[in-house]
Subunit: 339 residues, 2 copies
DNA sequence: TTGAAAGCGCTAACAC
DNA sequence: GTGTTAGCGCTTTCAA
């Protein structure tokens, strides 16, 4: 019933070693034997067993994907989209993805993910912020690591990030192009690198257009970039400025909160104030008005990570260490030209 | 560096066979030796290699997940949510999920998914409709199969379905309880078992309340249950009936289309007509008004499938063949009480 | 360019 | 109750 390498060898009239060499594309096989073997493989419909290969070659054909529980479970499917991106790319690169989640409380005494302990992955993708202890433990395993949307505080790892600075620039430029000058920045905690970079982009673009960057127009006090904080921050911003005509929110959630506040106090969007968000969460198009935003290609983040990791695994010495995935301005109805 | 079963055996002063027996929880090991071995395992931080176990035991610890390209890629994350559910449950049952997608055009000559050929999964979950040829080829492999949201035309496989009939009943009952009597059914092709069952539930509940089932109130002509068809169907339904006070749409997409049409011709929802959908797609809450619907717990579908498959794999003779996942009425603002 | 043979780390008969 | 041993199916020196 089950076909093994022996059957192929017998049928092709060669040794199993030769068959193996053909399978692994070794160059020291003559065209003739290669053909013979290939034919036998095809005739018998043979595929080498993963377990057997893995046992001897130390290559499993699997990639691990690690993220924290709360990232996996949160409603907005940001990280699960990234994961889907890796699944997508894995198919192309002939890998399978093993997913695991771990608690935020991971301590140095906790066991590593099972796929690590069982030596069942050739490399690992880590998405979003994870406990530093995890990275420390993982480092000892000498297993290739790639990070997505998180810059680990130590080590020299390949990283896949979205281009936050350029996104901040694009969003701001869009507002400037529409004639806005009094553009507020609605941010969260600037300790978060993404938010800091978006702010950098905002400032750069203003300066480039000789618009004075005013700290009164910049809100960075919110502890978390969530809707409720966007609501509060918009309120506070408006109390300090009476001439804001546009807002660049550091993410869609905060943009949503800001829009809510403006609606509550009767300020029309985009009639009176234009708003740009960042992320392009799924619900944006159902908003009223639909939100203009910077789209983060989550799928691409996952795809790039698999590419990077795949390079690392098959080819030890590669230059690429950091991939910046471009973002894209999506113009909807929350922004408007002014005179 | 790397710890093997030999190291554990040496440290515990027993043979590797004994260690293996302890690992597999074999009962014919004395408490004493078990303890000794367990301690050695812990001290050395040993975990058996997946590949080695797989090679000899024929158990990989992996489950395959198959769905078609278009199901994987479609915007509404129905099947990807199911997949996420299997990932979730896999963690609990100590499995990993290997995902693969395949084209709708799968023919008998196409190769089976790689994880099947490489003998890298212990069982397979198939979500949504797949080509019959696939099932036929898979059957020969004697590998446990579980279907989600699809009843294969042949074979005797365990299946996980949502409870469409009961959902249809619940939706209809909700409208009846609200005082409605002229309730239309907005359906797609009744060849689709889900739609047929929802219609069955609708009819049953009407009959139970002695409301005559009128074919004029039932639309089943739409080829696909999509928004555009909902729009058309609503239009046609209204042209034949002038006293419809409520609509049960066979899914949210069609409900959306219907709402759009009603908005276009100035009929208020729920003021004039109440609407119930089915599925609970993510965008429902952003609708105006938010849609009352029957929620299909996608995650649960995946979870149940893993449970079923896990039972099959570990324990050959089990009774459960069909799991009906309950659905739930989510009341929002598209339905209203009438006098 | 090919083959013989060792062995990857584990499990499962079968002895003892 | 525990140990011995023979592989599982493959890759990889090393010889030829």
């Amino acid at each position: 019933m089950k076909i093994t390498i022996k059957d192929v060898a017998k049928k092709a009239g060669v040794s199993t070693a030769t068959v193996s060499l053909v399978i692994t594309n070794n160059s020291r096989i003559s065209q003739d034997t290669r053909k013979k073997v290939l034919k036998a493989i095809k005739d018998l419909d043979y595929t080498p067993s993963r377990s057997a290969r893995g046992l001897v070659s130390k290559k499993t054909g699997n990639l691990g994907f690690i993220l924290t529980d709360d990232h996996f479970l949160r409603t907005e499917p940001f990280y699960t989209r990234i994961f889907l991106g890796t699944e997508f790319a894995a198919h192309v690169h002939d890998f399978y993805i093993l997913l695991t989640t771990l608690p935020n409380t991971f301590s140095i005494d906790d066991p590593l993910p099972r796929f690590v302990r069982e030596k069942n992955v050739d490399g690992i993708i880590i998405a979003g912020k994870v406990p530093t202890t995890l990275i420390q433990k993982l480092e000892k395993y000498k297993i290739p690591l790639v990070f997505i949307d998180y810059v680990p505080p130590m080590g020299e790892f390949p990283i896949v990030l979205m281009d936050n600075i350029s996104g901040g620039e694009t969003a701001t430029k869009h507002l400037i192009d529409l004639g806005h000058k009094n553009i507020a920045f609605l941010g969260g905690d600037v300790q978060h690198p993404s938010i800091a970079d978006r702010l950098v982009g905002y400032k750069r673009m203003l300066e480039k257009h000789n618009i004075t960057v005013s700290s009164k127009l910049i809100s960075t006090g919110s502890p978390e970039p969530i809707k409720e904080e966007g609501y509060k921050a918009m309120k506070s911003l408006l109390s300090k400025n009476n001439n804001i005509s546009a807002v660049f929110a550091c993410n869609d959630a905060m943009a949503l909160g800001a829009m809510q506040y403006l609606k509550d106090i009767g300020i029309d969007v985009p009639g009176k104030i234009s708003i740009v968000g960042f992320d392009d969460i799924e619900s944006n198009i159902f908003l009223n008005p639909p939100l203009t935003t910077i789209r983060v290609p989550k799928i691409d983040l996952g795809v790039e990570a698999v590419k990077l990791l795949s390079e690392r695994i098959t080819n030890k010495n590669i230059a690429r260490k950091k991939v910046l995935v471009p973002v894209e301005l999506i113009i909807r109805e929350s922004t408007r030209k002014i005179s």
